[in-house]
C-alpha cells in the first residue's frame, strides 16, 4: 500500500522559545512543565504516524490532546517545530515542513483538502460559490468550475440549494457544503477537523453514514479528528489515541478496544459498547485450538454439543448437534431462518459480534462457526468466547 501521509517525529510548539522547548521535549517533559519553564505551549511531541492511501485514520483524544494540532500540520496551518510531514504529491512526496510557498499552495489546491468544525463557509457567497472556492483559488476556468461544482452538489444532494446563501442553511446542510467544497478540488487527501462535532446527534449519524458511502466510492485518504470514540470506531479504519500532545496508541478499532495500551485508553473505551466494534474474527477460537473428536471431527464448543466433520480442503462435510445430524446456515439472513434445533449458524470474519450473539440466541446457545471467503472452516465461537469479549476479560 502506498503511503499518503507520513508524520516523522513531529514536534509542534507554540511560542517564542522553540529551542528551549524542544530541549525539554527531548528530556521527556510534560506539557505543564514546558509551559512553566518556557511559557510556550506544547502542541504535540514526537508524533510518528503513517497513513496509507484509502485509509480513514482517526486522531482521537480529549480536547487539548494535540489531535487537531497534528492534523493541521499536514497543510501547514500549524507550523512544525521539528520533524517531517511527508505528503504524497503525484509520484513523489513533499515535506510540508520545509517546502516553499509555491509548492505548499499547490498541495493545498490540488492534493490536500480540508473540512472544518465550524464549517468555514463564506456567508456572503451562495452554496455553489462556496463549493467552487478551491477551484477558483486554483485558477480553474469558470466553465469547468461550474461543471465540477454541479457534479459535487449532486453528489451530496445539495443541487436544489445551490443558489441559497450559506447562512440560510441548517448546520448539517452547511457541513455538506463544506464536504462538497473539499471534494470539488478532487484532492486525494482529506483533512477533517471534528467535522461533525458541531451537529446534533441525529444529523451527525446521518453525515457519518454519508461520508462512509462517499468514501466507498471515492476512496480518498482521510485523516479525521474526533473526540467521540463511537464516531472513531464507526468510521475509522485506523485509530490513533493522543494524550497531552503525544501519541499513546495506534491500531485498528478492535485493537484499541481489545488491547488498550494504558489506563488512559482504557478509560476512553470504558463506555464503548463492544458489540458495535467487535467482529466474529476478534472473538473466535482458531480451528487449531479446538478439541479434536474422532476421525476428522472437531468439537466447536467446550461443552461438546456440536461438531463438524472437515474434509481435506478445509470444507465442512457434515455437522452434528446433540448427536443428531444438522445443517449449517449463514447467520447473515438469520431472521429468515425457521427456528429449529438441527441447525448450526456460520459467520464470516467481518460479521459483527451482535449478529453472532443473535445467532446463538436463535439456536439455543449453540456455537457459531466461522468460514472464510472460500467457505473453509477457520474457527468457532462459543458462549464463553462471547462473554469474555463483552466483559473484556
Amino acid at each position: 500500500m502506498t503511503v499518503a501521509v507520513d508524520f516523522k517525529n513531529v514536534d509542534i510548539v507554540f511560542g517564542a522559545d522553540q529551542a528551549g522547548s524542544l530541549a525539554l521535549i527531548d528530556g521527556g517533559a510534560t506539557r505543564a512543565e514546558i509551559l512553566e519553564k518556557t511559557g510556550n505551549v506544547l502542541g504535540c511531541a514526537g508524533a510518528s504516524l503513517t497513513v496509507h492511501e484509502g485509509e480513514i485514520s482517526v486522531l482521537m483524544g480529549l480536547s487539548g490532546s494535540g489531535k487537531s494540532t497534528l492534523l493541521r500540520a499536514v497543510n501547514r496551518l500549524n507550523v512544525v517545530s521539528r520533524g517531517q510531514v511527508l505528503v504524497k504529491d503525484g509520484d513523489g512526496t513533499v515535506d510540508v515542513v520545509t517546502c516553499d510557498e509555491v509548492t505548499l499552495r499547490r498541495l493545498r489546491q490540488k492534493q490536500v483538502a480540508m473540512v472544518f468544525q465550524q464549517f468555514g463557509l463564506l456567508p456572503w457567497r451562495t452554496v455553489e460559490e462556496n463549493v467552487g472556492l478551491g477551484l477558483e483559488l486554483a485558477g480553474v476556468p469558470e466553465a469547468e468550475r461550474k461543471e465540477r461544482v454541479q457534479r459535487q452538489l449532486k453528489l451530496v444532494n445539495l443541487d436544489p440549494w445551490s443558489k441559497k446563501y450559506a447562512h440560510e442553511l441548517s448546520g448539517g446542510m452547511q457541513q455538506r457544503v463544506g464536504l462538497a467544497r473539499a471534494f470539488a478540488t478532487e484532492a486525494p487527501i482529506l483533512l477533517m477537523d471534528e467535522p461533525f462535532s458541531a451537529l446534533d446527534p441525529l444529523i451527525r449519524t446521518k453525515l457519518q453514514d454519508e461520508l462512509l458511502q462517499l468514501q466507498a466510492e471515492l476512496k480518498k485518504t482521510i485523516i479525521f479528528v474526533s473526540h467521540d470514540l463511537e464516531e472513531a470506531l464507526k468510521i475509522g479504519t485506523h485509530i490513533t489515541i493522543m494524550e497531552g500532545g503525544r501519541i499513546v496508541q495506534t491500531g485498528a478499532p478492535e485493537d484499541i478496544v481489545l488491547r488498550p495500551a494504558n489506563d488512559y485508553v482504557r478509560d476512553f473505551i470504558a463506555n464503548v459498547n463492544p458489540l458495535s466494534v467487535l467482529t466474529a474474527w476478534n472473538v473466535m477460537r482458531d480451528r487449531r485450538d479446538l478439541e479434536e473428536s474422532t476421525d476428522g471431527w472437531v468439537w466447536l464448543d467446550r461443552r461438546k454439543t456440536t461438531r463438524f466433520k472437515i474434509d481435506e480442503h478445509g470444507l465442512v462435510a457434515a455437522a452434528e448437534r446433540d448427536g443428531k445430524p444438522a445443517v449449517w446456515v449463514s447467520c447473515t439472513d438469520i431472521e429468515a431462518q425457521p427456528e429449529e434445533t438441527a441447525q448450526v449458524f456460520w459467520a464470516a470474519p467481518g460479521t459483527s459480534l451482535k449478529t453472532v450473539m443473535m445467532a446463538m440466541h436463535r439456536s439455543q446457545t449453540a456455537p457459531v462457526a466461522l468460514f472464510d471467503d472460500q467457505s473453509r472452516f477457520v474457527g468457532a465461537i462459543g458462549v464463553r468466547d462471547v462473554l469474555s469479549a463483552v466483559l473484556r476479560r
Binding site: 499552495r105 498541495l107 493545498r108 490540488k110 490536500v112 483538502a113 465550524q118 456572503w124 483559488l137 467544497r181
Partner: protein
Amino acid sequence: MDPISKFLVAYKIPIGPWGKAFFGFLTDNFDTVFRTFSNSLNFLLDGIVDGLLLLPPVLLIALIALLAYFLQRSKGLAVAVFLGLLFILNQNLWKQTVETLVLVVAAAAASMAIGVPLGIWAAHKPKVYRIMLPVLDLMQTLPTFVYLIPVLTLFGLGNAPGLIVTIIFVIPTSVRLTHLGVTSVPKSIVEAGEAFGATKRQLLWKVELPSALPTIMAGLTQSIMLSLSMVVFAALIGAGGLGTEINRALGSRRIDLGLEAGLAIVVLAIVLDRMTRIGVGGKK
C-alpha cells in the same frame, strides 16, 4: 513659586517656535508646490460645483433620487431624498448645498481612498497599528482650529484647504473601522481560504475584504457624517457652502438664516447617510 516650578517655567520647551519654524521652512521652500496643489484642487472643486450648477436644480435632485434608488433599491428612500432636497431648494440654499455636497463627497472619497489601505496595512501588521494609533488619536483630538492655522498658511484660502482639514479630521475613522473590520474576520474563514491555497492577495480580495465590507461601509457613512460636521469649520478658511451661511448667521446674529442653513445640513446628512448605509431597503 517653588524652585522646581520656577526652573521648569524658565526652561520652557519651545514646541511652538519649533512648529512655527517648521511651517516657516515649508512655506519658504515649497510655497509654489503647496500653492500649485491648492490652486489646481480649487480649480477642480470649483469646476465640479459649476458643472453641477449648470443643471436645472430639479433635474439634479431627480438624478440624486434616482441614484438613491439604484444604491438601495428602495422607492421610499428615493421619494424621501427627492422631497428632502426639494425642501433645500425651497429654502433657496441650493448653490451652497451643492458646494457642501461636493466638498463632503470629495473629502469622504479621499479619506476612504487613503484610510482603507492604511487600515488594511495596520490590520495585517500589529506593529504598524501600534505606531499609527497615537497619530490617529492626535488627528482626532487636536482641536480643529489648531490645524486650521498651518493649513491656511500653506494652502491659502478656498475650498482646497477646507477639503484638506476635513480629510485630516476624517481619515482616522476610516482607518480605525477598516482595521476593525479586517481584524474581526472570523479565523475559521481565513483558515478555510488558506487551507484551499489562497495567495495573500486572494485572501485579501476574496475573504478579508468581503467579510469586512459592512464595517468598511460603516466607515464610509461615518466619514460622510464627520465631513459634514467639519463644513462650518472649513468655511472659516474660505470653503464655500452651507458653512459660510452659518458663519454669516453667527456673525450677524440672524436666527432665521442659521436655522435654514442648519436644517439644510441636517437634511443633507440624513440623505447621505441613508444612501450609503448597508441594509437600507431590501438589499442584504
